[in-house]
Every structure is written in C-alpha cells, then in structure tokens.
C-alpha cells in the first residue's frame, strides 16, 4: 500500500515537472515569400538563427530574430531588403509574443500532431500588430516542433514598396515558421 502511494506520488511529481517544462531553440527557421503574382523573380528570404521559447504549461510563446540574418539568393535583393524595405539598422529585430489559445489540447508528453491557434503581437519594422494564426505542434520522441504559416500585409507594418518594383514585390508576404525545440534544462 505504502509502495503504491509512493509510486503514485512520484508519478505525479514527474508529470508536473514535464507539464512545467519549457522548450526552446536558437536555430529556428523563419522564411518569407513576397513574390508578386506572375513575377518570374522569386523574392524569398530565410532566417536560420531565430530564438524561440515555448512554455508547455501556459502555452506562452515568443520568438525573436535579427532581420539582418535573412539570407537571399541574390545579394542585391538582400541589400534592398535591409536598406530600403525593413531598414534593418534602424529596426534590427522582429519578434512575436503570444500564446497558444488551445494549449490544453496539446499533450507534450505524447507523440502526435496537434492543431493549435496562436494569438499575440507581431513586431516587424518597428510596428506592432495583433496577429492570429493556425499552426501545429508535433511531438515526437521527446522533441517538440512548432510550425505556423501566415500572411503579413506589408502596409500593416509600414513597409513601402516603390512603384518601380511593384510588379515583382507583392503587397503581402507569406511567412513560414519552423522551430524544432528541445527541452530547456535548468
């Protein structure tokens, strides 16, 4: 009897500590595609040094990246992105602070793919807007991957596209976030 109680108490402790676990990465991927319809020129950038933290207990999540870390196929595109559109020297980082609204439906200790809704504030180019998107959390062998795709209207973030390149650069960017997270050991 005593033994069973002890085992039960230990199991509860383990599950509580798992539930409280935070997950993080410093090598998260954020990419965007702002190619205009029918444009032969692909306007695509990828940042591979995104830092992200996810609190599995509360569903709170936050990611931050340095905008100068976006890489493009062409150097000129990268220069225009940093100097003219995003103004990376003036606004060096982009970030998201928010939470998974249906976090209770995610079992971080059981393998599976869970559809989630994320709500929070997205800051790009020094402008913060409310943002809501669908995403998914995949749990596999103790590893957690957070993925989301959403569309950001450039005008909402005061990113002006000169008329001379309007046929190449879209008025919105399709943003894709993939962060393979690991448990944060304290």
């Amino acid at each position: 009897m005593k033994k069973s109680i002890l085992i039960l108490a230990f199991s509860s402790l383990v599950s509580i500590s798992f539930a409280q676990e935070k997950y993080f990465t410093k090598t998260g991927k954020v990419s965007f595609d702002a190619t205009a319809n029918k444009s032969p020129e692909i306007i695509k950038g990828t940042n591979k040094s995104t830092t992200m933290v996810l609190d599995s207990k509360t569903g709170d999540m936050q990611f931050v990246l340095q905008t100068k870390g976006f890489e493009f196929e062409r150097a000129l595109m990268q220069e225009h992105f940093n100097e003219n559109y995003i103004e990376s020297t003036k606004f060096p980082k982009a970030e998201f602070k928010g939470a998974i609204t249906n976090n209770a439906t995610v079992n971080y200790t059981k393998d599976g793919t869970y559809n989630v809704t994320v709500k929070g504030k997205l800051t790009i180019h020094g402008v913060t807007n409310d943002a809501t998107t669908d995403g998914k959390i995949t749990v596999k062998a103790g590893k957690v991957t957070a993925e989301a795709s959403f569309v950001a209207l450039l005008a909402d973030y005061k990113v002006a596209i000169p008329t001379v390149v309007a046929d190449k650069v879209a008025t919105s960017a399709k943003v894709n976030v993939v962060c393979a997270l690991e448990a944060l050991k304290k």
Partner: protein, 153 residues
C-alpha cells in the same frame, strides 16, 4: 566640314554604344550578384571570442554599431556544436563568466567543414556579424555570425 561632322557623330554614337553596353553588362552582373564566399573575404576585425563577448557585455549598443555587417575572425574554444534537423551546423563560443555566447552558423558551402570538429577544441572561424540577441527570453545573450567558415583548425 561635313566630313568632320560625320566623323564626330560616328564617335558620339560609338561612345554611346560603349556606355550602353557597359551599363547593360554592369546591370546584369549586379542583378545576378550573389554573396561573396566568406573564405575569400579579408576580415574587418580579428578578435578572441572572450574579448568580443566582454565588449558586448560592457556596451552592447556601441558593439552592435561597431561589428554588425562586418566580417569577423573569431578565435576561441568551441563550447558546443549544434546540428539542426537539416544537418546545418552552428558553432558556439562562450566564456565562463557570463551568460553570453558567440553563435556562428556555418555557410551552406562550408557546412561540411564543421562535421569533423569536436567540442572543447581551439579554432578560428570567419563570418559576418548580423547582430546581437540580448537576453530577453532567459536563454542568455548571443552575438550572431552568419556565413561562417573555418579559417584555422
């Protein structure tokens, strides 16, 4: 007189043609220009990982201004080697006194150079500084280097 006029018109046309062709070649090359291979870039600064971490800890605003967009050669001991799900390596240098690191993500062309490295080994790398992630998430601060290659093993 007419002969001279015709001759000078010919030269002007020729000059315009040369200027036009040169501009077109320049525009084409500029449009298709890709990032320079980091291995062929002369570093703007050569510094130890501990020294640059100390600079950022003491004054991150001045350090960001000084180092961002610059080619840096960093000497230090590899603390950890991160390998992501796509096989891309990031070399991490830290010092023992504070929670700040230099994170160097390998250039895709030079990524395989990191596969033979071991943690705890002294090394020299070269990369482009893209900024500083100040500790806002409780994970420590990071000086970020992209397009890294090994300059001395």
């Amino acid at each position: 007189m007419n002969f001279l006029k015709r001759k000078s018109t010919k030269y002007i046309l020729l000059a315009l043609l040369v200027i036009g062709a040169s501009s077109a070649i320049y525009a084409y090359k500029e449009y298709n220009r890709t990032a320079k291979d980091i291995a062929s870039i002369t570093p703007d600064f050569s510094i130890s990982s501990n020294a640059i971490i100390t600079e950022f800890v003491n004054n991150d605003t001045a350090s960001v201004k000084k180092y961002t967009d610059k080619a840096l050669e960093i000497k230090g001991i590899i603390k950890t080697i991160d390998k992501d799900e796509n096989g891309a390596f990031t070399l991490v240098f830290s010092d023992t006194t504070n929670n700040t690191s230099v994170r160097c993500s390998m250039d895709s062309v030079h990524n395989s150079e990191a596969s033979i490295l071991k943690e705890g080994v002294a090394i020299q790398v070269k990369g482009i500084c893209t900024g500083f992630n100040k500790d806002e998430l409780g994970l420590g601060s990071d000086i970020i280097l992209n397009h890294t290659c090994i300059s001395k093993n």
